[in-house]
């Protein structure tokens, strides 16, 4: 048989089969890379494109294929197999397909090697290109990424179809008869994948069973390690997902005025800034990692720049309240809800040393609704609205200092219930003495300068109650009103905070009040007969109206 084939033809045939095997492996592996393949046609023959097809050669794949072949060629009983499997990020793996290049004994002696065999091998490669996009593993391989990857393994010898599970299907790509045997290219693939999407695969355990002893029955286990079908450099994240930063908090412009010119100026600067970490926050959360404010001495209107309002999320936006040291009756309230994501630090005006001493940060007391974690801290020279979590190293680098009046503006609790229980609050000497008196409460009786609270304050208080995590809570707190920059409206003499306060407790509807209701009820009953008489007069009109509706 083989003597009929001359040596040149034999050499050519061997070469054709060898390169066909290598190209077959390239086509299969490239089809499982997860990308679309595109090669260019060239009208001028380059001489290096085997079978007149532009199939790139990935060096690693060629190397692996050559290693598997080890100088041999597919022959009867010795098939070249490419195994495609899937491996999840958890380490589970599953065989998907096995592509077999086999040779059987059926010879076609009449066939011309250099022409017909070559062209038919070329046709078979084209068929392979088409079929590799058609098996279920193709769609899986296109979606590979973080959850799973596709691996390939080349081995030479007997075909092992055990790992494909039950009911696997086979598709024959094609055959080419040669003088030494018939080359057959086929694929055996799992069919249970048909219903499996990527998502399903992660959630449900593999129905086919996890192949634990993957390489147990392999004839050449040591020579056939699995390789990923992915040659892209994965510069993607390794699975650590950072929660998206929600940029939902508007920056409230904050400026405030000192109404009485005698108010001292104080500067609060943040001593420490937290390093930016993206964190998920609710819409109500506001980062207040750093603040720097500056007041101008004896100016009726202060403007300040909130600085370093990025970084870390505050659980709540807390109004930062600073009591002017000198005159506690005119506390200032500073609301600084900030924007996440890093508002650039604005330069703060230098603190006036003398004034700074008189600054204080009063912290809120745990009144109902006004929950806050307050950590007043001060440096010698500057007041710092510090992050209460500095010591706690919590992910919430929160400026958890809410300085609210002991009875918050939007709290329904009467002032009297809140008492200055302890005098060991910092700067107790500066605590307003007359807080018990509602009349003297600047919040209740606003001074000439309009006070403003943050529109968020109410909701913030309620949020704050759920977040009282800090340890430094104080019974007394002073609220300083401030005037938001843009809320002053000449048209409407009332500012937003006042508006909110006034309408927070609207009066009851008159119709709902019992006394009035009782009265009107009696009147209604009396007037009923009259009304009925009137209606009866107009019966015809009503009927006509009803008819028009129909």
């Amino acid at each position: 048989m083989e003597t009929d084939l001359n040596s040149q033809d034999r050499k050519d045939l061997d070469k054709f089969i060898k390169f066909f095997a290598l190209k077959t492996v390239q086509v299969i592996v490239q089809a499982r890379l997860g990308e679309k393949i595109c090669t260019r046609s060239s009208s001028s023959p380059t001489g290096s494109d085997w079978f007149n097809l532009a199939i790139k050669d990935i060096p690693e794949v060629t190397h692996e294929a050559k290693k598997a072949l080890a100088g041999q060629l597919p022959a009867v009983g010795r098939s070249m197999c490419v195994e495609i499997s899937l491996k999840t990020s958890e380490g589970d793996s599953m065989e998907l397909e096995i592509w077999c290049l086999e040779m059987n004994e059926k010879c076609d002696k009449e066939i011309k090697v250099s022409y017909t065999v070559y062209n038919r091998l070329s046709l078979l490669l084209k068929s392979l290109l088409a079929i590799t996009r058609v098996t279920p593993a193709y769609r899986l391989s296109r979606k590979q990424g973080h959850e799973y990857v596709i691996l390939y393994r080349i081995y030479f010898g007997e075909v092992q179809l055990n790992g494909l599970g039950e009911g696997f299907q086979t598709v024959r790509v094609g055959t080419v008869g040669t003088p030494v045997g018939t080359i057959t290219l086929s694929c055996a693939y799992r069919i249970n994948l048909a219903f499996m999407s990527t998502r399903q695969f992660e959630r449900t355990p593999p129905i086919m069973g996890i192949i634990i002893d993957h390489f147990v029955d392999r004839p050449y286990p040591s020579s056939s390690p699995m390789h990923p079908c992915n040659y892209r450099t994965t510069g993607e994240d390794t699975g650590v997902t950072y929660p998206s930063v929600e940029d939902s908090q508007e920056v409230c412009t904050t400026s405030f005025s000192t109404s009485p010119p005698s108010q001292c100026v104080f500067t609060v600067t943040k001593a420490h800034f937290q390093t930016p970490t993206p964190v998920v926050t609710d819409t109500l959360r506001v980062p207040m990692a750093g603040l720097a404010f500056s007041h101008q001495l004896s100016s009726s209107r202060l403007s300040y720049q909130p600085a370093a309002l990025g970084v870390g999320s505050a659980d709540l936006a807390y109004p930062v309240v600073f009591a002017a040291g000198l005159n506690a009756t005119h506390p200032h309230q500073l609301m600084v809800p900030g924007k996440e994501g890093g508002v650039p630090l604005a330069p703060s005006q230098p603190a006036h040393g003398a004034q700074a001493d008189q600054e204080r940060l009063a912290t809120c007391s745990p009144s109902d609704g006004a929950r806050c974690a307050a950590t007043p801290s001060s440096s010698e020279d500057t007041e710092t609205v510090s992050n209460s979590s500095e010591g706690r190293a919590s992910p919430h680098d929160v400026l958890e200092t809410i300085f609210v009046r002991k009875v918050g503006a939007f709290v329904n609790k009467p002032i009297n219930q809140v008492t200055l229980t302890s005098l060991d609050i910092p700067f107790a000497m500066f605590a307003p003495k007359n807080l018990e008196l509602e009349d003297a409460d600047p919040m209740v009786n606003p001074p000439d300068s309009p006070e403003t609270g943050s529109p968020l304050q109410g909701s913030l208080h309620s949020e704050g109650s759920s977040r009282g995590s800090s340890g430094n809570t104080h019974d007394d707190f002073v609220m300083i009103d401030f005037k938001p920059a843009f809320s002053k409206d000449d048209i409407l003499p009332m500012d937003l905070g006042t508006f909110y306060r006034e309408f927070q407790n609207p009066p009851q509807l008159s119709s709902l009040s019992i006394d009035i209701g009782a009265q009107s009820m009696a009147e209604d009953l009396d007037s009923l007969p009259e009304k009925l008489a009137v209606h009866e007069k107009n019966v015809r009109e009503f009927d006509a109206f009803v008819e028009t509706l129909q």
Binding site: S44, R133, T135
Partner: protein, 218 residues
């Protein structure tokens, strides 16, 4: 020599017609195209290289491979577009078929014109279905994708029977066998035709012809 005839049937939604037809036609032409021949002296020739590229369908969960030839792609898209328009405007049941015929030219003596002898005909019967809900469309996407996978396997099976193929021509005969008009690839001579059929399976044109003949006969 008998002409080999293969028939494929597909049921698709209106917007899937183009992609389904292109997938089938391109797969057939992938197998029936070679690189450009470059004839040298002494009757030998070398063959150019055929590149391939993957095409993802937009309306079908399917990817097919075509030869990297924009000219060929444009020619196919043009005729498929005409077919799609004809289907739409027919207003009938949405039945039509497209035929891809590979032929050889046989030169005849004057005054007879050259003969076109088909040696392989691929017919794709298209049935357009109308779907109401998005869910149905989504199912249709996947189902048509699976059906096309089966069609590709059928095509490959036929191709690999290695039945009759025209002999490789000499330089003077190459235009009788191959379409040498494209720049980068060289498919066998082919022509594409289509017809819109009504529910009975008869083409609209034949019905019209019959009607006219009948009226004239009166």
């Amino acid at each position: 020599m008998n002409c080999r005839s293969e028939v494929l049937e597909v049921s698709v939604e209106g917007r899937q017609v183009e992609e389904a037809l292109l997938a089938v036609l391109h797969t057939v032409l992938l197998h029936r195209s070679t690189g450009k021949f470059h004839y040298k002296k002494e009757g030998t020739y070398s063959i150019g290289t055929v590149g391939t590229q993957d095409v993802d369908c937009d309306f079908i969960d399917f990817t097919y491979v075509r030869v990297s030839s924009d000219e060929l792609d444009r020619a196919l898209r043009k005729v498929v577009g005409e077919f799609q328009d004809a289907l739409r405007s027919s207003g009938g049941d949405g039945l039509g078929q497209m035929s891809l015929e590979f032929y050889q030219k046989k030169k005849s003596r004057w005054p007879f014109s050259d003969e076109c002898i088909p040696w392989e005909v691929w017919t794709v019967k298209v049935h357009v279905v109308a779907l109401a809900t998005e869910q149905e469309r989504q199912i249709c996407r996947e189902k048509v994708g699976e059906k096309l996978c089966e069609k590709i396997i059928n095509i490959v099976e036929v191709m690999n029977r290695h039945e009759y193929l025209p002999k490789m021509p000499t330089q003077s005969e190459v235009d009788n066998v191959f379409d040498t008009g494209l720049r980068d690839v060289q498919p066998y001579l082919y022509k594409i035709s289509f017809q819109i059929t009504d529910a009975l399976g008869t083409s609209v044109t034949t019905t019209m012809r019959r009607l006219i003949k009948d009226t004239l006969a009166l």
